[in-house]
């Protein structure tokens, strides 16, 4: 019986390990020629904003649709509306108007009379390419835009007739939020004194753009949900100071979470640190 050459097998495995460490960790594939789909969320927002601004300039809905498809949003209309609300909250009113105008145009289904954009062809071709495999630049697929510049002259009509979005869930008057959850968070990975607020509608869907008012002895502040979309459209947070008592309310008539102070937590090793609080507000059915 032949002896198994363990030393050779071991060397082979060691080599394999070294090769994988080098190719995955030390020198991974350099990324060029990526697609908008792979962009960081903030840059996707920039891209979406540019699409909406371009649509405001041209009124070319087919082209805007093709471009939005590149971002791979599950629901582009909802993505536009959510971003519009975040922009409104941060005072970017004109850009928010562009987003809303595009969302409304998409929602009203005015695409039936438009020609499919040539960009769609590029999307379908490009979608089969992995961003991590360094696809060659597809110089053989030129953009073949055929739209005429006359569309530019129609822009004022489109902008002036901007309807408000209807699909984005927004809190309605007469449906005050109820405080459905209040818990202390003792997580050393979170910043000290972090007050997290989660706002949901009656279907437990997160709501962006909801104003939250926080008051304490020496002052008050407003902030909005949806400004950190990576943490959820209905998420907002605030840094509490130690030894200060806060009250949180979402709007007139909503429940008030009062007497909130940053808790003192303990690590397993006995050290103390300032914890946080997580509040959940929900619209009743």
């Amino acid at each position: 019986m032949k002896r198994i050459p363990w030393d050779i097998l071991l060397a082979l495995l060691a080599g394999l390990g070294l090769g994988l460490v080098y190719s995955w960790v030390i020198s991974p594939t350099r990324i060029i020629d990526s697609e908008p789909l792979a962009l960081r969320a903030g840059f996707k927002d920039d891209y979406r904003s540019a699409i909406a601004a371009a649509y405001a300039g041209t009124g070319n809905l087919a082209r805007a649709q093709s471009r939005l498809a590149l971002l791979g949003d599950p629901d582009p209309i909802e993505a536009l509306n959510a971003q519009a609300q975040r922009m409104l909250a941060s005072g970017e009113f004109q850009q928010a108007d562009h987003m809303v105008a595009l969302a409304s145009a998409l929602e009203s289904g005015t695409t039936a009379n438009t020609q499919p954009s040539p960009l769609t062809q590029i999307v379908s071709v490009a979608s089969g390419i992995s961003t991590a495999t360094l696809p060659p630049i597809q110089t053989d697929i030129p953009f073949l835009f055929t739209e005429t510049p006359q569309l530019i002259q129609t822009q004022p009509v489109i902008i002036e007739s901007t309807p408000r979005p209807t699909r984005t869930p927004v809190p309605t008057l007469g449906a005050p939020f109820a405080l459905t959850g209040q818990e202390t968070t003792c997580d050393t990975n979170l910043p000290d004194g972090l007050l997290q607020v989660l706002v949901l509608n009656s279907n437990r869907r997160q709501l962006a753009g909801v104003e939250i008012r926080i008051t304490w002895d020496a002052g008050e502040e407003q902030f909005f949900t949806g400004l950190k979309p990576e943490l959820g459209n209905g998420y907002a947070d605030f840094m509490m100071s130690s030894n200060t008592t806060y009250s949180v309310q979402l709007g007139l008539g909503s429940d008030v979470a009062s007497g909130l102070t940053a808790p003192v937590c303990q690590t397993p090793s006995g050290d103390t640190f300032t914890g946080g609080i997580k509040l959940t507000f929900q619209q009743p059915d």
Binding site: I8, L12, L13, Y22, W24, E35, L39, A56, I137
Partner: protein, 115 residues
Amino acid sequence: MKSNRLILIMTALIAGIAVGLTYGWVIDPVDFFDLTPDTLRADYKADYVLMVAEAFRFNPDPGLAARQLAIFGSQSPSAIAASGLEYARTNGFDDSDIALMQELVTALQAWSGLP
């Protein structure tokens, strides 16, 4: 005999490294997400410049256009726009689109004082 064994071990080690590199770089490379716009393919970059140009036609604010183009990072906005224009010219973009991009490039060059 012993040196032959050593050669075999070294050969196995090198073969393992080669297989590992092939697997990690070609067969299953690292998946990248959260990329920055400067990694976008040239046609997407050019289309982004076109978007900015289309918006610029509607709202001729070179400062705003420059901020929109700044997501590409290191180059000046006018250079980014010029790169997009160059790509459009060499890749069969529609004349009206090229004209829009040219208009943007000219405005940005005037705005930034660059030739």
